[in-house]
C-alpha cells in the first residue's frame, strides 16, 4: 500500500470511527494545479464506496482553496445543482502532505468529443441544453450572503470592466509578441461594455468538458475553481466560445444548440429577461479570455514545465483571433 493510501485509510478510519481499507487508488487525468484521485473505501462490514480525493499538489504554498471548493460544492448542492456530494475536508497539510477534501465519485463521461460524436450519447445531446440551462440558473441563484461563502471577494464596479481589466492586464504582462487581433477586440469590448445585469455567483468555467454526463444526460457540474462574483451572463457567453464546440459550429452553444434557444431556456429557468447583446459581449470576451489562457499555458511551458500539450496551446491562439474577427466584423 502506498503512503497516500495508508494516510487516507487512517484519516477516513478516524472520521468514521472504524477501520477502513483504501484500494484501487489511481490518479485521474487532467488538472495541473491540483490532483484528483479515485479510490475504493471498504469498511469492516464489507461495504464499499468509490470516492474521489482532491488535493493541492504537495509542496504548494499553503492555501485554503480546497476548503473553498468544498464549501462551494456544498452550497451548489443546497441550491439544487447536480454536483458530487462532498464528504470530508482537511486543511492540515500534515495529514496527506497538502490540504484536501473527499467527495463521492460520479460515474460518467466528460469528453466533449464523445458527447458530440458518439451515437450512444444522442439522448444526452437532446437533453443537455435544457439541463444545462436549468443547472446554470440554479448556480446563479446560490445564496451569496451566508457566512459560508463570505470568502468570495465582491468586486467593486461593473463586472464587465473588472473582468476585461483583469484579462487585459494578464495579456499585457504575458504575451511575448504583438497581437493586433486581440488589440482590435479589446477596443471593440471597451466601447461596448454592458451594465451588470445582476450580481451573482459565476461558475467561471461552465461548458461541456466540465460536466459529467451519461447517455441520458447531465449527472454533475464539476470544476468549481474559477468561481467568482460577477455578472451571470458571463457564464452564458463562455458556453458559446468556439473552442467548446469541437467543430460542431452549426450549434454555437457547446455544439448542442443555437444561442436563442438556450437563452430562452435559461430565461424560463431563472425567471429573468436576458439581453442577447450583452450575452454577445460576454461571448466575445470569452473567446478573448480563452486566447489569453492559451498564452498563459504556453508561458508555463516556456518557464520550464515540460509538456508538448502546453507547448502546442500557444499555437492555438490564432484560432481565437479568427473567431474574434468574425464575431466583431460589422457588429
Amino acid at each position: 500500500m502506498t503512503d497516500l493510501a495508508a494516510g487516507l485509510a487512517a484519516y477516513l478510519g478516524a472520521q468514521l470511527g472504524t477501520d477502513v481499507r483504501v484500494t484501487e487508488l489511481r490518479r485521474l487525468a487532467g488538472g495541473a494545479s491540483r490532483e484528483t484521485w479515485l479510490f475504493t473505501m471498504t469498511t469492516p462490514d464489507g461495504a464499499t464506496e468509490r470516492l474521489v480525493l482532491r488535493r493541492d499538489p504537495p509542496g504548494h504554498v499553503i492555501e485554503t482553496s480546497r476548503r473553498h471548493e468544498f464549501l462551494l460544492l456544498r452550497a451548489a448542492a443546497a441550491a439544487g445543482v447536480a454536483v458530487p456530494r462532498v464528504r470530508w475536508c482537511e486543511e492540515d497539510p500534515a495529514v496527506l502532505g497538502a490540504p484536501f477534501f473527499v467527495m463521492d465519485y460520479v460515474e460518467g463521461e466528460t469528453l466533449a468529443r464523445r458527447l458530440l460524436r458518439d451515437a450512444e450519447y444522442a439522448p444526452a445531446r437532446a437533453a443537455l441544453p435544457e439541463q444545462l440551462a436549468t443547472a446554470l440558473a440554479r448556480v446563479h441563484a446560490i445564496d451569496l450572503h451566508g457566512p459560508e461563502l463570505d470568502f468570495l471577494t465582491r468586486p467593486a464596479g461593473e463586472a464587465a470592466a473588472v473582468e476585461l481589466g483583469r484579462y487585459e492586464s494578464l495579456f499585457r504582462a504575458l504575451a511575448p509578441e504583438p497581437h493586433p487581433a486581440f488589440e482590435l477586440a479589446l477596443r471593440w469590448l471597451a466601447v461596448r461594455m454592458p451594465a451588470t445585469s445582476r450580481r451573482t455567483l459565476v461558475h467561471g468555467d461552465y461548458r461541456v468538458g466540465n460536466v459529467i454526463f451519461g447517455p441520458e444526460g447531465l449527472r454533475a457540474v464539476i470544476d468549481w475553481e474559477m468561481v467568482h462574483v460577477g455578472d451571470p451572463l458571463e457564464d452564458l457567453g463562455w458556453l458559446c466560445v468556439r473552442a467548446w464546440r469541437f467543430g460542431a459550429d452549426a450549434n454555437p452553444v457547446g455544439g448542442l444548440c443555437d444561442r436563442a434557444a438556450f437563452v430562452s431556456m435559461y430565461e424560463r429557468a431563472a425567471g429573468v429577461r436576458v439581453d442577447p447583446t450583452a450575452v454577445r459581449w460576454w461571448e466575445v470576451f470569452g473567446n478573448l479570455k480563452w486566447g489569453i489562457i492559451c498564452i498563459m499555458q504556453m508561458q508555463t511551458f516556456l518557464a520550464g514545465v515540460k509538456s508538448v500539450e502546453l507547448a502546442s496551446l500557444g499555437r492555438r491562439t490564432a484560432e481565437t483571433e479568427l473567431e474574434l474577427l468574425d464575431l466583431t466584423e460589422g457588429a
Partner: protein, 130 residues
C-alpha cells in the same frame, strides 16, 4: 550544405513514424500526447515550407498600411525582426484609436484577417474550413 534527406524530409519521416507506429501502440494520456507531438511536427513542416513567402507578403501589407518606403530585408532573421517591429507600430496605432476611423480601420482589419489566416494555414488548416 547538408546531405539529403532535407530537414523537412527528416521531420516528415519522424511524424509518419509517430502516426503509423507510435500512436496505435500507446493508450491513455501518452497516446494523446503522441498524437499532439505528431501534430506539432506537421505544424513545423508547414511553417518551414511557407515562412519566408508569408513574411514577405506580411511585410508588404504592413509597409503599405503604415506608409513605409524601401525594400524588405533580404535575410530571413532580419525580415522576422522587421515584421515584428512594424506589427508593434500597428498595435500602437490601434491602441491610440486610429482604427476607429475609416478607411484605415477597414484596411487594418483586412490585413489582420489575412495574417491570422496565414497563421492558421500553418497551425490548423482545417479550422479555416472548406
Amino acid at each position: 550544405m547538408q546531405d539529403r534527406p532535407t530537414a523537412r524530409e527528416l521531420l516528415t519521416a519522424v511524424r509518419e513514424f509517430l502516426e503509423a507506429d507510435v500512436v496505435p501502440a500507446l493508450d491513455g494520456v501518452t497516446r494523446f500526447h503522441a498524437r499532439v507531438a505528431a501534430n506539432v511536427l506537421a505544424i513545423v513542416e508547414r511553417e518551414m515550407a511557407s515562412e519566408e513567402q508569408s513574411l514577405l507578403a506580411e511585410w508588404e501589407r504592413l509597409a503599405h498600411l503604415l506608409r513605409v518606403d524601401g525594400e524588405p530585408p533580404a535575410r530571413l532573421d532580419s525580415l522576422r525582426t522587421a515584421v515584428r517591429g512594424l506589427t508593434e507600430s500597428l498595435v500602437r496605432r490601434i491602441r491610440e484609436g486610429e482604427t476607429d476611423r475609416e478607411p484605415f480601420g477597414r484596411a487594418v482589419r483586412e490585413h489582420v484577417r489575412e495574417t491570422v489566416r496565414e497563421k492558421l494555414r500553418v497551425t490548423n488548416p482545417r479550422y479555416l474550413g472548406g
